[in-house]
Symmetry: C2
């Protein structure tokens, strides 16, 4: 069994250092290399390989699937950054900011196709893997659409919010695990359990992200806290606060939403999150989805010792103090 | 053997009238339906089914592959229209013009994924078909990049131009034919011949398009002629005129390129195309690639009577008087 950092290193040397792109046209492939070179934690490909390793030594199939998933993920980042008008990604200029809109669109497109090109090299269970990958890829687009729809809606329910983060974030983590397991020869129930482990872990992770953005120490967060509040972003905390609020609190929330971003706006909103119990509800939801995730992992019918790296990775992701 | 119009009708009822999209999120799928509803000649899917029918009655595999190809083609149209800042497509607002940039990007993305979702349902020869589809899809992106690179370059050679139109346009026609043939059980050499038939037909078609844009009667063209000249677009005609020009003619061409669009600019450039023999060279190139195409079709080892619909479609595409 290999550790997270060991697998990241292996992935970098197998994938990032030997990208499948040719040299020409340079204006197409150089930006692709730039984006993939920005790094990232490589959580999805590592989950894929770890899941394969639960059942057998990871094969070329597992590494091709891991590469496909990382390429797909980066394709979505490129296009999301355009839609979100984001200037920075991992502290560096986003691809479209550095190379222009046209490059942003076309580099994303070709990276998506390279994801499929890698996936098509998988031999074991290819039809089943393709089907899951396609289903997931469609869901990720649908989640992104819901996220953008939410920006202009004022009636988003908690249930819809959970659906959105499930589609936008969780299903790709779940898919990474299940595809990895399938390349390792996992049978139906184990593969399904790993999928559910990833799906619930993803939801817990996103809710924790909402919580940390609001309540974490700015120094530990590595950025100003309250970014979501400043941007009036519909998070679990805001939706729950609106749901729980009495008439006076609801009016206070609406007044704050109408204000420009400021430290004082953040301070007052955090107070309302506490007063309405939204903060506790969010922590509880994180714990609930985490528990569900670990229960599913526990039910995977293989010796616990083999699950140790996955367990540690999930704990690292879910029990951050920053 | 079925006629072009008969197959278009079948494709519409099997595909366009039963699109694979769900109803929600509406902001994602409604624009997709809009774009596919604008029509188009459906040449690629029909080529796919016609190629399958050379060998056997078209199976569900052929129809799924045809749908995949049409979805992929429309995905590229959506994103190309953004990159080209095109307001109109088939006389109607382009998708991004009607629904915005974000919809343009995301609807294109999801349509590309649905192309793969359709393709994954092919049963016969799936790995080989996937490999060709991926290779072609990458080439189409590379062709689009070259086309955009050409806009700001002043040293484009005829050879590079042919490479660009081959990648951007021809390989998808070739791929449609070969994939159709593979779903019909074609063996290596027949499939390869059909690919070459499509590739050469595509080049001839694009060169003919360049010619007609300059020299066709505006009434028959359905739009003002000389659009490429007005936009200083690097076409076969312009590149050939520059190649053949003497010093005085080269200066005249450069002066015209520095001028704003006008009827007079078109008139003078057409005169230079004739004087340099670019017009005759273009007609000759069309004839040369057409001949090559028909030679390859001729070599496909099946009775000529079965090839009749393909032959007629190619003649319809290549011997237009408009």
């Amino acid at each position: 069994m290999q550790s997270f950092s060991g697998l990241v290193e292996q992935f970098e040397s197998r994938f990032t250092h030997t990208l499948p792109f040719p040299s020409q046209p340079a204006n197409l492939y150089e930006p692709c290399r730039y984006l993939l070179g920005l790094g990232g934690k490589r959580i999805r490909p590592v989950l894929c390989v770890m899941a394969a390793e639960l059942f057998d030594a990871p094969t070329d199939d597992a590494w091709h699937a891991a590469a496909a998933i990382e390429l797909f993920h980066n394709f979505t980042l490129i296009h999301d950054d355009i839609m979100d008008k984001a200037p920075l990604r991992r502290g560096q200029p986003t691809l479209h900011h550095k190379y222009g809109l046209t490059a942003g669109i076309l580099c994303g497109d070709v990276m998506c196709i390279y994801a499929y090109e890698q996936l098509a090299q998988v031999k074991r269970s290819l039809p089943q893997i393709m089907q899951l990958f396609n289903k997931t890829a469609i869901e990720v687009c649908e989640g992104q659409q819901m996220d953008m729809d939410f920006e202009t809606r004022s009636d988003v329910s908690i249930e819809e919010y959970i659906t959105m983060i499930t589609l936008k974030t969780s299903v790709l983590l779940a898919c990474s695990l299940k595809i990895g397991a399938l390349t390792g020869g996992a049978l139906g129930d184990n593969a399904r359990r790993l999928y559910e482990f990833g799906r619930n872990m993803g939801i817990a992770f996103q809710l924790q992200d909402d919580y940390l953005d609001a309540f974490a120490d700015a120094a530990k967060l590595g950025k100003q806290n309250g970014g979501d509040i400043r941007a009036n972003k519909k998070t679990y905390l805001l939706l729950k606060a609106q749901e729980n609020a009495n008439a006076a609190q609801r009016e206070q929330i609406n007044n704050l939403l109408a204000q420009d971003a400021s430290d004082e706006k953040v301070r007052q909103m955090l107070e309302l999150y506490r007063a309405t119990g939204a903060d506790a509800a969010c922590r509880q939801a994180v714990a609930g989805y985490s528990d569900l995730a670990f229960t599913h992992l526990n039910e995977v019918a293989i010796p616990s010792s083999r699950k140790q790296p996955l367990l540690e990775l999930a704990q690292y992701l879910l029990v951050r103090d920053k």
